[in-house]
Amino acid sequence: MRVLALETSCDETAAAVVDDQGNVLSDVVHSQIAIHAPYGGIIPELASRDHLRNAEYVVREALSRAGIVDVGSVDGIAVTCRPGLVGALLVGVQVAKALAFATDLPFVGVDHLVGHLLAVRTIRPGTATAVPAYPYLALLVSGGHTALYRVDGPLLTDIREIGATRDDAAGEAYDKTAKLLGLGYPGGPTIDRLAHEHEALATGERRDEEPFTLPMLRGFEFSFSGLKTQVAQRVAKQPEILGNPARIAAVCAAFQEAMTRVLVQKLFLAAEAEGVPRVVIGGGVAANRGLRARILRVAKKRNVEAYLPDLASCTDNAAMIGYAGAMRLVRGERDTLALCAESRTSLPRTTRKGRGERV
């Protein structure tokens, strides 16, 4: 089964053709980073306008790269319908529904988070990545989400949230920290690079910053707003940091150390608690080199299998949506032309945002 998928939930306009084995036949992503960068964050109306401008192009390109002349010759259509910016999601949802209506092809909406959790199972040409069997423990880390899930299968009902962030998402903490350090938007890749450069220095030339306190909550919940505040306080107390690239890099390394340590620790603790012998990651922050290296290190030590998706499968893409959609379609699931975009995920949540007891 070949599925054409669209993804417009945030700041990437994407289309892909995938089969139900996870083979990525084409994957086209148009990024809006340059549009939002001047504002230091994503402007929803600008995102929606740009999605509309590029939707037709990415679909045509995805079809042509997959060698498909007629849309009607694929076996199904999938689209991200939640969670995300409603106005942005709506563009993809309308285009996808119109394609499904006009071709009479089976059609499903996909939860973006399910897409990220299954992204590690997509296979890109030229890469020989092994694919994890079920069940696996997944750490989803992006600019909008940070949570741990137990994944027993490819459907919504097979996925259970173990714990999530109480406040900022990991990627959000990266962006805010980068802003504090004057590093621009998006912050994750820059902090990762500077931390890497700092750690590559010889012991003699390297002056580490005082480490940040680990933002450790009980159980499998995360909190990252405090980590960002620690950076803000350090910079306020020692403003000379900002004028010194070496010190900025050292702060990045200390921030990344605290961030990845907490994420990785909880991922493996959750796998142990659930009795699951394999871990995976997904989401934009899963492309972070420091995080990937630490996971591989700990996995080896603990004798747990770790699966890291290709970098192209970490950031938002339509291939993962196509695969998640194919999993629904092969089981006979369908959505109607009245499907609408929703801002919230359909995955049940266990962690409440904000302070207070868990419910």
């Binding site: 306008r49 709506l90 309308q94 209506f101 006009a102 609408c340």
Partner: protein
């Protein structure tokens, strides 16, 4: 009657009421075959394709046999404009049926039978106490569409030598030359214009208003 009938669909969701219409063209004669509407606010995305389906089914006209699809591109609700355009783009991708972009001013004029010569001022409710305005003289557009307060329209054009001011009953127009138009553009007019115009290769939304962007003020350095 040697000429074959051709069929045109119109979709228009830029205002509170979303509409779909199908017309038949026999030479220059246009006949309305069906029209559906949905007045549920913020739900054009859910309603539109089921309405298209109903209109086509009722008339027994397959989507692929349409000669063109007219699509309302605003100005109006940003989201509504994208519902219509996103849908139209998907339909064209799948079928190759060409699109014809129709802006809301033209649709209002078409519906009201505005004069083709002379100065015509067309006004659309833009909410927030403002109206979208376009001024043309014959087929020459004198101003790019813009937003002004409703009261300013009256003040500006009172006693001017205009052929018609076209505006919805909800806009506070008092100028004597006013032609009252419908409150918002309708798919029937959109479909009729689609039948008379060449296809639009790249239909562009007519937002008029820039996006609302509030940027945090930079913090004062001590």
């Amino acid at each position: 009657m040697s000429q074959k009938s051709t069929y045109f669909l119109g979709i228009e969701t830029s205002g509170p009421v979303g509409t779909v219409a199908l017309i038949r063209a026999d030479g220059g004669t246009l006949t309305l075959l069906g029209r559906r509407e949905s007045a549920v606010r913020n739900a054009h995305g859910e309603a539109l394709l089921p309405l298209v389906d109903a209109v086509l089914q009722e008339a027994g006209i397959p989507l692929r046999s349409l000669s063109a699809i007219g699509v309302g591109v605003g100005p109006g609700s940003f989201t509504g404009i994208r519902v219509a355009l996103g849908t139209a783009i998907g339909l064209r991708l799948a079928t190759g049926v060409p699109l014809v972009a129709v802006n809301a001013f033209d649709a209002l004029e078409e519906a009201a039978g505005a004069p083709s010569s002379g100065v015509v001022i067309t006004v659309l409710d833009a909410l927030r106490g403002e109206v979208f305005v376009r001024i043309r003289n014959g087929n020459q557009t004198l101003t790019e569409p813009s937003t002004v307060t409703a009261a300013a329209v009256d003040v500006l054009f009172e006693g001017c030598c205009v052929a018609a001011i076209l505006g919805p009953p909800s806009a506070s127009l008092t100028t004597q030359t006013s032609l009252r138009a419908a409150d918002e553009p309708d798919a029937v007019a959109v479909a009729r214009l689609a039948a008379r115009r060449p296809p639009t290769d790249e239909p562009e939304p007519l937002y008029v208003r820039p996006p609302d962007i509030s940027v945090a003020k930079p913090k004062k350095q001590n």
